[in-house]
């Protein structure tokens, strides 16, 4: 019986106002540490959006966040809170590394398919154990997935130091992947290439020794398009397949699902395997597409940011996509702040925290206030 907001206001206005509030409080924080909010905003926008170089980074981060955001969302629809995307993404990285290092690939496109299989398999396998413990033993998945993040980190350190590290190398990392597995980055893609040309001071294109043009290197790569496909795939799966129907039914009411003959064990296992596979696929972006070797702590927190992305994107693929772009912007913009101003890079974390606070935790507050506003307008 509660007064409801119009749908457009609920979907667009609420997150926008929440973001504005987050920006406002961030500005206050900046003022408090004696910095200019306007300058910070300019630097962030310039650093993350305006130049192709900037959004080449923004979209790179966003790609990782889309995969982990989808991973969290899919599990959430079954009523499962997968906090383990971080560990699953690291294991996905292991799958990518093994596929790239130990199988001969004639061309990057084939390597991509192989690495995807490796990433998805390893990510899913890492999610399978907590899923099994939840389905069969009732061990709470929040606890087990968190613990599995630590186990994943420890397993990878061991493997990187003792097994995968080439003899004589100092840092705990695998060997560099063969050149045939190198994914095209945005500056290598024919249609996008011209955006990344490097110019000399006089406005002419800079050339290399052989007289070919030079390009700026950005980490965004073809995985971005895979991420878009993953969004479409998740949307179709959740709302247009029987599996998705069963997942959502189970997530809404486990008891009713039993009445309908939907098996708790099967759904828990299936959904967590899908979730883990999605998290694992993130490694295509960072391990195969960017670093081209497996590093320690390869996921760099993207698994946790996926939780925020899912929360802000309301567990819908479109929302996840948009939220991932926003967080990509914050990530890259924050890095630019650290480079170009006296504002500490840690402020990036503060701003992210505020965005999560306002869009995730406090959006009911915004919704309530909007409700008042709409009611007032109606009664006038």
């Amino acid at each position: 019986m509660m007064d409801k907001l119009p749908k457009w206001a609920d979907i667009l206005l609420v997150p926008l106002i929440s973001l504005l509030l987050a920006a406002l409080v961030s500005a206050l924080v900046l003022l408090a540490i004696g910095q200019s909010p306007m300058q910070a905003l300019t630097v962030m926008v310039n650093g993350a959006i305006v130049s192709p170089y900037g959004w080449g980074y923004t979209l790179y981060y966003a790609t990782s966040f889309i995969f982990t955001g989808l991973a969290v969302s899919v599990a959430y629809h079954a009523g499962l809170f997968n906090i383990g995307a971080e560990g699953q993404a690291q294991l996905g990285g292991l799958g990518v590394a093994l596929a790239c290092l130990f199988l001969p690939w004639p061309h990057w496109s084939l390597a991509l398919v192989g690495a995807m299989v490796g990433a998805a398999l390893f990510g899913a396998a890492w999610a399978a154990i907590p899923a099994w413990l939840q389905a069969k033993r009732g061990s709470h998945i929040v606890i087990t997935t968190i613990m599995f993040n630590y186990i994943a980190a420890a397993v990878l350190i061991y493997l990187l130091v003792e097994v995968l590290r080439p003899a004589g190398q100092m840092d705990p990392a695998s060997a560099r992947f063969p050149a045939t597995t190198s994914l095209p980055q945005f500056q290598d893609i024919p249609g996008l290439q011209s955006l990344f040309l490097r110019y000399a001071a006089d406005g002419t294109v800079r050339l290399n020794a052989e007289g070919l043009p030079l390009y700026q290197k950005v980490p965004a790569n073809v995985t971005f398009f895979l991420a878009i496909l993953a969004c479409v795939g998740v949307w179709v799966m959740l709302w247009h397949t029987r599996l998705g129907y069963m997942i959502r039914a189970f997530g809404k009411s486990e008891k009713a699902a039993r009445y309908a003959g939907i098996s708790a064990v099967k759904i828990t296992m299936t959904v967590m395997l899908i979730s883990g596979a999605l998290a694992g696929l993130m490694a295509i972006n960072n391990v195969m597409g960017q670093s081209e070797r497996l590093l320690q702590n390869s996921a760099e927190g993207a698994g946790f940011i996926g939780i925020a992305v899912a929360l802000m994107g309301r567990n819908h693929p479109v929302g996840v996509f948009l939220a991932a772009i926003l967080f990509g912007f914050l990530y890259q913009g924050g890095a630019a702040l650290g480079l170009e101003t006296a504002i500490p890079i840690e402020l990036r974390t503060v701003v992210q925290g505020l965005v999560i606070l306002f869009t995730g935790a406090l959006d009911q507050m915004v919704r309530m206030m909007l409700g008042w506003a709409f009611r007032a307008r109606r009664t006038v």
């Binding site: 409801k4 397949t241 129907y245 039993r258």
Partner: protein, 522 residues
């Protein structure tokens, strides 16, 4: 503030306990209450009756300060009163017992009673005082509850008593009860009515909201009828009858009795032998049930709630495990849960209208069309190109079912929670009956369903029987069992006490069996 209008007191003798004048309330385009005026005499039991969605609950929520009326005036004991929140309602002497109790499950009775009415920072004084008051109330009104019992350990009937005690402890003079018998057994309901009469004798005013005509006739002094947000009539209970009230409620003549031809039973559809169920706590819930149902007959199971009826439905519906033998159309069903679930039972020709539609039968957040596919999401006509579900086909099917079963509003994309109880039940019944099952398991088909819908659902069940299908009907409403069943089996303590022919038995005989008094002893 409240004394400003004291002039109203001079004229008549006793002012009304509650007087509402021209109350209106709209939710967006929906006019939930339209110009409602009502006078409730002090020390009387006043019934408010109406179908689900007629606006009864909204009116009471206004009186209890949950909603603010758009227009109108509230007078308590003749004084104009504004009730902006429930605290003010309590101060004005109004107590409310909700349909869904608002108790803290893991608190004791005493702790629940004082919650929000503590006398100070230390609990001991409040608890001591409450214990004394409780003992007095228990003596006065037959309201005995163990003050130290945890609420979660209490039966529903006792939990309701705690709610009433909570209101009385806060010195309520006016008690509003919203559908209080919806969750009670007949015996518990009788007890509740004794309590209410006792309260009335002490001068308390009681407003009883219900859609059950029998209760209105049994206990109220005056009854007001609501339909579509308006108060259509207020009459003295002694001067009216159920048929007239039903007509006032629904707006047309209603058949209160089920019309059906004699049964024409055919082959045996379901055979149950020595069926046993042990629950998770290790308590034996079904202690060797044997029964059979033939095609074209309705077997009614009577009994006080909690005597194994739910377990019988659940084990036959594939939701719980059991031991014994169950044969469906001659095929022995798996009872271990290893090779069977709700899905395989449907494949065996068993449809199941569960007792609790909101917990089992529907997913409240799902749309109507998603709920129509619920449990039948494997049906071939709901699939397309192998992998995808044919949402469009399900929506079309839902539209057809909504038309046949007169579900209102007929909007397939509306969430189940936005339908009234009767229409929710129609969605479930439509889904299960339209599959044309050989056996329909149906539990409490009309619980929380308004009269118009009850008549309709009963007709559908009888029609299924006349089409040569078997029906197992479980209900705590004895009227329903007696008017629908072709045979009646009575359950008590996990056993079948005996079987009766509805044509030759009576409520007294069934009541004895329901209480566990077996044939010889009676």
């Amino acid at each position: 503030m409240m004394g400003a209008h004291d002039t109203g007191r001079q004229a008549s003798a006793a002012p009304f306990a509650i007087e509402l004048k021209g109350i209106s309330k709209a939710f967006g385009p929906v006019q939930a209450n339209k110009d409602i005026s009502i006078q409730v005499a002090k020390g009387s039991i006043h019934g408010i009756i109406g179908e689900n969605g007629a606006g009864k609950s909204t009116l009471m929520s206004i009186l209890y300060g949950f909603y603010k009326a758009d227009a109108g005036e509230i007078l308590i004991n003749g004084r104009p009163t504004t009730i902006p929140d429930s605290q003010s309602a309590i101060r004005a002497g109004i107590g409310m017992v909700f349909q869904h109790f608002k108790l803290v499950q893991n608190f004791t009775v005493l702790e629940n009673i004082i919650l929000g009415a503590e006398d100070g920072p230390m609990l001991a004084t409040s608890l001591g005082k409450a214990r004394k008051v409780l003992a007095d109330l228990a003596r006065e009104y037959e309201l005995d509850v163990d003050p130290d019992a945890l609420v979660e350990d209490l039966s529903v009937g006792h939990q309701q008593r705690v709610e009433i005690l909570k209101a009385l402890y806060r010195q309520a003079e006016i008690l509003i009860l919203d559908e209080p018998t919806g969750v009670l057994t007949p015996a518990e309901a009788d007890h509740l009515f004794r309590i209410l009469r006792g309260l009335k004798d002490q001068g308390k005013t009681i407003i009883l909201i219900t859609h059950k005509l029998r209760e209105i006739m049994e206990i109220t002094d005056t009854v007001s009828v609501m339909r579509r947000g308006q108060m259509t009539a207020t009459v003295k209970t002694a001067e009216t009858n159920p048929e007239q009230l039903a007509e006032l409620m629904v707006g047309r003549k209603v058949l209160l009795h089920v019309e059906k031809q004699p049964a024409n039973p055919g082959r045996t559809v379901l055979e149950v032998e020595n069926l046993r169920v042990v629950d998770e706590q290790g308590v034996e819930r079904l202690k060797g049930i044997s029964l059979s149902i033939r095609a074209g007959e309705i077997l009614g199971i009577a009994g006080v709630a909690g005597n194994g009826q739910s377990e019988l439905l659940e084990v036959l519906g594939g939701l719980t495990r059991g031991t014994g033998v169950v044969r469906m159309n001659g095929k022995t069903l798996d009872l271990t849960g290893r090779h069977s679930d709700g899905q395989s039972r449907r494949a065996d020709g068993i449809a199941h209208v569960p007792e609790d539609r909101q917990v089992l039968g529907l997913i409240m957040d799902f749309t109507a069309w998603e709920n129509v596919a619920f449990g039948y999401h494997h049906a071939p006509e709901y699939q397309k190109n192998g992998l995808l579900m044919d949402n469009e086909a399900i929506r079309r099917d839902t539209e057809a079912k909504m038309a046949t079963f007169d579900v209102r509003p007929p909007i397939p994309t509306l969430a189940a929670k936005n339908f009234s109880g009767g229409n929710q039940q129609k969605i479930v019944v439509a889904r299960e009956i339209e599959r044309n099952p050989d056996l329909l398991l149906v539990g409490q088909p009309t619980r929380g369903v308004d009269i118009g819908a009850i008549e309709f659902i009963h007709k559908q069940i009888v029609a299924l029987r006349d089409a040569g299908k078997a029906v197992l009907l479980i209900s705590v409403e004895l009227d329903e069992i007696m008017s629908l069943s072709d045979r009646i089996a009575v359950m008590f303590d996990g056993r079948i006490m005996g079987e009766r022919d509805p044509a030759t038995t009576n409520e007294r005989e069934l009541g004895l069996l329901m209480a566990g008094v077996s044939e010889g002893a009676a």
